[in-house]
Amino acid sequence: MPQPQMVTIDGNEAAAYVAHMTNQIIAIYPITPASPMGEWADEWSSLDVKNLWGTVPEVIEMQSEAGAAGAIHGALQAGSLATTFTASQGLLLMIPNMYKIAGELTPTVLHVSARSLAAQALSIFGDHADVMACRATGYAMLCSASVQEVMDFALIAQAATLEGRVPFLHFFDGFRTSHEVAKIEQIDPATIRAMIDEELVKAHRARALNPDHPVIRGTSQNPDVYFQGRETVNAYYQRLPAIVEQQMDRFAALTGRQYRLFEYLGAQDAERVILLMGSGIGAAEEAVEHLAARGEKVGLVKVRLFRPFDPAALLGALPPSALQIAVLDRTKEPGADGEPLYKDVVTALAQAMAEGDRSAMPKIVGGRFGLSSKEFTPAMVKGIFEELAKDPPKNHFTVGIIDDLTHTSLRWDPSFQADAAEGVTACVFYGLGSDGTVSANKNSVKIIAEGTENYGQGYFQYDSKKAGAVTISHLRFSRRPIRSSYLIGDDQASFVACHQPTFVAHYEMLDKAAPGAVFLLNSPTTADRVWHDLPRRMQRQMIDKGLRFYVIDAYRIAAETGMGRRINTIMQTCFFAISGILPEAEAIAQIKQAVRKTYGRKGQRLLERNFAAIDAALQGLQEVRVPAQASSRFERPPVVPESAPEFVRKVTATLLADQGDRLPVSLMPADGTWPTGTTRYEKRNIALELPRWETDLCTHCGKCPLVCPHAAIRSKVYPAELAAAAPKSFLHVPIKGKDFPQGYHISYQVAADDCTGCGLCVEVCPIRDRKDPKRKALNMTPDPEYHARERENWDFFLGLPEYDRSRLVANKIKHAMILQPLFEFSGACVGCGETPYIKLATQLFGDRMLIGNATGCSSIYGGNLPTTPYSTNPEGRGPTWNNSLFEDNAEFGLGLRLALDAQVDQARELVRRLAPRIGEVLVDGLLTADQATEVGIFEQRQRVAALREQLNHIDGAEARSLEALCDSLVRRSVWIIGGDGWAYDIGYGGVDHVLAAGRNVNLLVLDTEVYSNTGGQTSKATPLGAVAKFSAAGKPTFKKDLAMMAMAYENVYVAQVAFGAKDVQTVRAFLEAESFDGPSLLIGFSPCIAHGVDMSHNLRQQDLAVSSGHWPLFRYDPRRTEQGENPLRIDCKPPSIPYRDYVSTETRFSVLNRTHPEAAERYLRLAQKHVETRFSLYQQLAELAVQKAPEKAS
C-alpha cells in the first residue's frame, strides 16, 4: 500500500474530488451548502483536470436543480457517467427524475450535503429532512459521517452503483461535514482506478440509447403491466447491500479503511444502545468510549447504508445483549408515529420476532436531534443513555432543545466532557467576516495538520448579516484523528482570540476558555491600560480561570505596514507566537510560505507588506499582567432597550445575545409568524465614519436618502416649533422650495448606530462648497463625539411626526424622499446595490404592500432572523412579507393578487347587498373610489373606517363577513421581488406565466448579474465575458434580454432602471409600474461586491453601465399605445463611452485579460458591437409609429 497523501480539505471538496474523477458529465446548480462541490468541479474542468478516462468532464450549469436532474437523466441514458450535487430544496426538485433514473436501473451517484427544508422557515443548515424526502425514489442511500468518509463513500458508492445498477444518493451533513476542514488521507487515482470496473462502465454504455440498436424507454404503461413492471427491480435491491459490503471490503484491501453497512462500537455486552447516522456519530463515539471505559454497558450502531435497508445486517451489528435502544433521527416528520430510521429499526426487530429469529423485543425509543445544525454533543449522548436507563424511557423524545410545550426534550449535563477532549488543543477565534480571520484560520489548520504529525479540524460559524458579519472559528489539533463533530464548548478552549476590540462588549467569549488558557485581544489600548476597558464579568473570568492575557494593536500595525484594515496575518502570527502549538520560528516560516503562495504571483509589494506585518506583529505583542481583583465597574449593556415590545425583549434580545439555543419551544411562534420592524432594536454600530450634514450648502434635493442602502440617512419636514425641544446639536433649517408651507423645517439625520459607513450618500451629494470644493453638503467624519451626539439626535428625530403624504408629489425626488422608508437597517452588504430599490418601493407604497420574495440575497437581508427590516409607519401599517420558494415566487405573488381580487369582489358584493343599511353615499363612495393617488387612498381608508363603524350596528352573517373583508376595499400593492437567478433562470417559467396572466402585480428584479447570495455563480443575466463562478473562463454567451422578452407580450409595463445613473427615471418607473393595472416588470441594475469592485463605487458603476450601453434605461408603458403613442421611451443617451472603459473598472471582467487574454479581447469586441446594435434596435422600436389601439385587449 503506498504512503497515503494527507490533505486538509472540507467535505464538499472531498466529494467533488471523487465525483470529478469518476464522471464525464456534471450538471450543476448553486445551492447552499452544496455549491462548492459544483464550484470545484467547474474549476477543475476549466483547468483541464482530467477524469479516469483521460478526458475533461463537461461541467454545465443548468437553470435549476430540476434542470440539472433532467440533464443528468439524459446524459445517463446516452451512456455517459454523470453526476450532480445538491441539497435541500434543490434535492426536492430532483425527485421526479430520481424516480425515473432509479426506475430505469441507471448507475449514478448524487452527492448531497444534507440540509433542512423550508417549513415554518427556511434554514440553510444541516439535517436529514431533504434526503428523507427521497426515501421512496428507489435511490440507494449511503451516509458519510466525516470528511474522510465523504471521500471514501463517494468512491464506494460509485463502484457499487456500477455493479448494482441502482443509483445512489450519497449524503453527509451540511456545514458540519460539508464545510468542516479536516486532515484526511486522499485516495490516490490508482485506487480509484482499481475500484471502478471498466467492464461495468462498458455495460452501462452498452445499455445507452443508440440508433444503431434502438430501444424505447419511458413508455406509458397501463393497469395490466405497470405493477408487474415495478416488481421487476426487487432482485437488484435485494443484492445491493451485499454489493456495497463487497465494495467496502475491496476498498479496505486497497486503503486499509474498513467500513460495514452497520458498524458497532462499545461494550460487547451493551444493554443500552443508540443508533444514528451522519456527523452525530462523532460525538456519539466519544461519549460511548468514555462511558464504556468506565464499565457502563453502552454501545453505538453506526448506520451507513440506509437504503436498501438491510435488517439482517442491522441485527448482525446489534449486540444481542441490547435491552434498551434509542434510534436517533436528524429529521422531523410531523404527524408520523416516529421518524424514518426509528421505524425501520422497530420494523426490523419486529420482523425478526415475527419470523422467530429473535425471542425478545428490546425497548426501542426514537428521538430527534440536530435539526438545522443544532448542536449534538457527547453530553447529549450521555443524556440519552441516562434516559434509556429509566423505565420506561421517553419515546419520541428530542435532545438539544428545551421543549416546554409538549415536553419531549431530554435533559443533559452541559459540563460533561468526554475523554476524547484530552490531548486536544482547542482554539476559538472571534473575528469579522471581512478581516480575513476565517481564511487565516483555515491556513493555520493546513500549516499545523500538513506540517506536523497533528490532525487538525476547522469549523466556522458564520453570520446571517452581510455587512459587518461576525465569524467564530473553532480549531482543534490532536495527535489522534479528531471526531468531535460539535463546537468547542464552555471551558474547553485553551486559546481564545478576539480579533475585534468592540466584541468584548457583545460576546461572552471567555465562557469558552479552559482554566489556564491564553486570551489574545486586538485592542488599540496599551498593555498597561487595557485591563480597565474590559467588562467586569470578563475580568472575573480571567482571574477565576487563571488566564494568560495578551494584547496587540493589530489595526495600528496593519495601517503602518500598508495592510489597510486586514489584520488576519497579524493575528495569525500572534496565535502561533503564544499558543505554543508549533515552535515559533517554524510557524513564522510557514506563515510566510503561505503568504508567498497567496500573493507570490500577485506582486512583490504585497509580499513585502505582509512580511513586514508579520515581523511587526511579533514585536507588538504584549503580555498583560492579570490583576488579582476585578476593577471594572461596567457590565455589558442590555441588548435591547427596556422600551422594546415584550416579544423583542424576550425572544429577539436572546437571539441577539447569541443565546438563541436556550429559547424554549413555548416562546417560538407556532406557524413561523414573526413581528416585523425589529432591526431597529439591533444597534450594530459598525460604521467607522458617519455622514455630517452641512446645512449652509444643502439644497434638500433628497438624493442621499435615496441611495442609502440601509435607510440610515433620512429626512423629515415638520413645523419649526417642534424643534424647540431638540438636543442642542440637532440640525434643522427652513425647507427650500415653494412646495412646502411657511414655517416648516427640514432635517437630514443619520442613524449613527445603524449606518454602515459606506459613504454613498456623500458620493451622490451634488453640492460642493465653491470656496472649498472638497467640502460637500454631506461629508464623512470619523469623529467619535459626533457619533455619540447623533445617537441622541436620531432618537429625537424619530419622535418627530411624518409629513402628510397626501401633500407630497411622489415623482419628485425631493418629495419622495420625505416619505418614511418602511425597510430599514437590513443586514445587506455595505454599499448594497439592491436595497435602495426596495426601500424606495416601501416609501412609495409600503403602507399597502404585500411582498412575495424569491429566495436569495433579498430574502436573507429581508427575512433572516434575528431581526428583520420591513417596518411600520406611525399608524402601524407597513409591508407584509413572505418567502415561498426560489422557483415559484412569481406564482406565489400572483396567488396573493388572486386572493386580494377575490376578496375585493366579495367585499363589493357585500357592500352592494347591505347598501340600504350602510347608506347610499358611503356605498357609492366605497364602490366608485378613485384610488390612483395618495389622497384617494386616504379618503378610501376613511370610508372603510366609516363602514366599520356602520357595521357595528348591523346584524347578520353578511355584515360579519364584510367586517372581515372590508380592509380589502383599500387598494393593495402586490410586489414580487427577487434576483436575476430567480427571474432569468429558475423562476423564469413562472415569471413568464405571471406576466402573460395580465393581473396587477409588480415584479421587481434586482439584477446583480449573478447568484449573489450563494457566492456569485453565473446566471443568464451574467454579461458576455464576465468571470463568475461556473464561468471561470468568462461567460461565453450574451446576457439574456429579459425586458425585450417581456415587452413582446405588449400588455406588460416594463422598465429598466439604474438609480445611480438616473434617479428620477427610477422613481417615475416605480410609480408608473405600480399605477399600471396589469403586470409590471422593473429590472433594476444592482452593483454587487461579486463584480469585483468596491461598493463605494456603486453609483459610478451604474453610471458607467448606462453610459457604455451595457444598461440602457427605458420604460415601456402599454397605456401609451392606447393614446396612439409609441409605448417605448428611451431614457438615456446612446452609448457615449467605450464599453472597455466600463468593464476595465470591474475585476469580474478584467481578470479575464490575465487568465484568457484572447477570449477577453474577443468578448470585448463582440460586446462593444452588441451594445451599439441593441441600443439602435431599442431606438428604432421607440421611433416606430403606433396606431391607436382600437380597444384594450382583455
Binding site: 458579519a469 486586514r566 500573493y599 500577485k602 456569485g1016 468596491d1094
Partner: protein, 336 residues
C-alpha cells in the same frame, strides 16, 4: 539604394521603427509590420501602474475575498493562479523574438525609482534587444523643482543601467527647460538613445457631469514639428541615437525628421489608423523621394536640414515663433 541606418548600436535595414503600441501585442500584427518593412519594433509598454494596480486589485478582489457569510465564502473564482502582467509581457516578448528577425525593443513605462525597474533584467533575459524607458511623469508637485524632476529621470536611468547591459533608449517629454542639456546628461548617465517626444494624454473635462474624463486623441502631423526642431538642434552634438516620434503620418513627415537628423522615425497613430501595411507605403515613399532627389543612401541626406547644416540655425529657435505669429490671422467673423 541604401536605406540602412544605425540605431542604438544596431545596423538596421531602414529608419522606420514602429513605436510602442498595441500592434505588438499580437504576433500576427507584429509580423505584418515586419513584412511591411519595419526595421525594428518597440513593444507595447509595460506600465508600472498596471502592475501595481493589478496586484492590488487581485489581492483585494481575488485573494482576500473573506465575507463571513455562511452561503458564500467568496464571489469570484480565484483558483487559476494566473500570470501577472509582467509574466504575460515576458511571454509576449519571447514569442515576438521567436517570430521576428528584426530587433525587438521592450518598453517600460513608470515613474517610481527602484522596485519595478528591476524587471528590466527579466526583460533582458527574455531576449529584448534593447529597452525603452518611458518616464511618463507629470510634475504636478508645486514644491518640486525642475532639477529634481530631471534627477528623477537620471536616477531611474542609472538604476536601470545597473541592471542590464542591453542598450537603453529614453523616451522624453518636451517639458524640459533644456531638452538638449537633458539629452546630454542622459547620455552621460548611460543612455544609448532618445526618442523625442512622448505625448502626455491630457485629461478632459466633461461639462455635463462636471467630472474629469480621460481623452485620447491620435497625433497629427503638426506635432512632428516639435520633435523635428529638437532633433535638428541635437543632430551632430550627441552620441545618442535620435528617434523622432509623435505625429508621423506621411512620407513627408518621416522625411522631415530624417532631414533634421533623426536616425529613426517612429510610427504609431498612422499605423493604428491605417493598418501595419501602411508602413510599406511610407517606406516606398521615402525610396521614391530619394530617387527623385537623387540620393543613394539615407546617410546622404540625414541631417541635411539640421541646426548644424542650415545657414541660419536661429530659425529653429525663436525666429520661427515670431514668423509664425506674424503669419497668422484670425478667421473672419471671430471677434477679438
Amino acid at each position: 539604394m541604401d536605406l540602412t541606418t544605425q540605431y542604438l548600436g544596431f545596423a538596421i535595414k531602414n529608419p522606420l521603427v514602429p513605436s510602442a503600441s498595441p500592434l505588438s501585442r499580437s504576433i500576427d500584427t507584429a509580423r505584418e509590420l515586419e513584412d511591411a518593412g519595419a526595421a525594428a519594433i518597440i513593444m507595447w509598454s509595460l506600465f508600472e501602474e498596471s502592475i501595481t494596480a493589478e496586484s492590488e486589485s487581485s489581492a483585494r478582489f481575488l485573494a482576500e475575498q473573506d465575507t463571513g457569510f455562511a452561503e458564500a465564502s467568496s464571489f469570484l473564482p480565484d483558483h487559476a493562479d494566473f500570470a501577472p502582467a509582467l509574466d504575460l509581457y515576458l511571454e509576449n516578448l519571447r514569442k515576438l523574438k521567436e517570430a521576428l528577425d528584426i530587433p525587438v525593443i521592450a518598453s517600460l513605462n513608470g515613474i517610481t525609482p527602484g522596485g519595478w525597474v528591476e524587471h528590466g533584467r527579466e526583460l533582458e533575459q527574455a531576449g529584448a534587444d534593447a529597452l525603452e524607458l518611458n518616464v511618463y511623469y507629470v510634475a504636478a508637485d508645486i514644491a518640486q523643482s525642475g532639477s529634481e524632476v530631471e534627477e528623477r529621470y537620471l536616477s531611474l536611468l542609472q538604476s536601470l543601467r545597473g541592471q542590464i547591459s542591453i542598450p537603453i533608449n529614453m523616451k522624453l517629454s518636451p517639458s524640459f527647460s533644456s531638452v538638449a542639456n537633458m539629452a546630454k546628461r542622459l547620455a552621460d548617465a548611460g543612455a544609448n538613445g532618445v526618442a523625442l517626444f512622448n505625448r502626455f494624454y491630457q485629461p478632459d473635462i466633461n461639462v455635463a457631469s462636471l467630472r474629469l474624463q480621460p481623452s485620447l486623441h491620435p497625433s497629427t502631423s503638426a506635432e512632428a514639428l516639435l520633435a523635428m526642431r529638437w532633433i535638428a538642434i541635437l543632430y551632430g552634438r550627441t552620441e545618442l541615437s535620435l528617434g523622432g516620434t509623435g505625429g508621423v503620418h506621411s512620407t513627408e513627415d518621416a522625411l522631415k525628421l530624417l532631414l533634421a537628423g533623426a536616425d529613426v522615425v517612429h510610427l504609431c497613430s498612422a499605423l493604428l489608423a491605417r493598418g501595419p501595411a501602411y508602413l510599406a507605403r511610407i517606406l516606398q515613399g521615402i525610396g521614391d523621394w530619394m530617387e527623385e532627389q537623387g540620393f543613394e543612401s539615407i546617410a546622404e541626406f540625414r541631417g541635411r536640414v539640421s541646426a548644424l547644416a542650415v545657414p541660419n540655425p536661429a530659425e529653429f529657435e525663436r525666429a520661427n515663433y515670431v514668423n509664425v505669429l506674424d503669419g497668422y490671422s484670425f478667421s473672419p467673423g471671430v471677434m477679438i
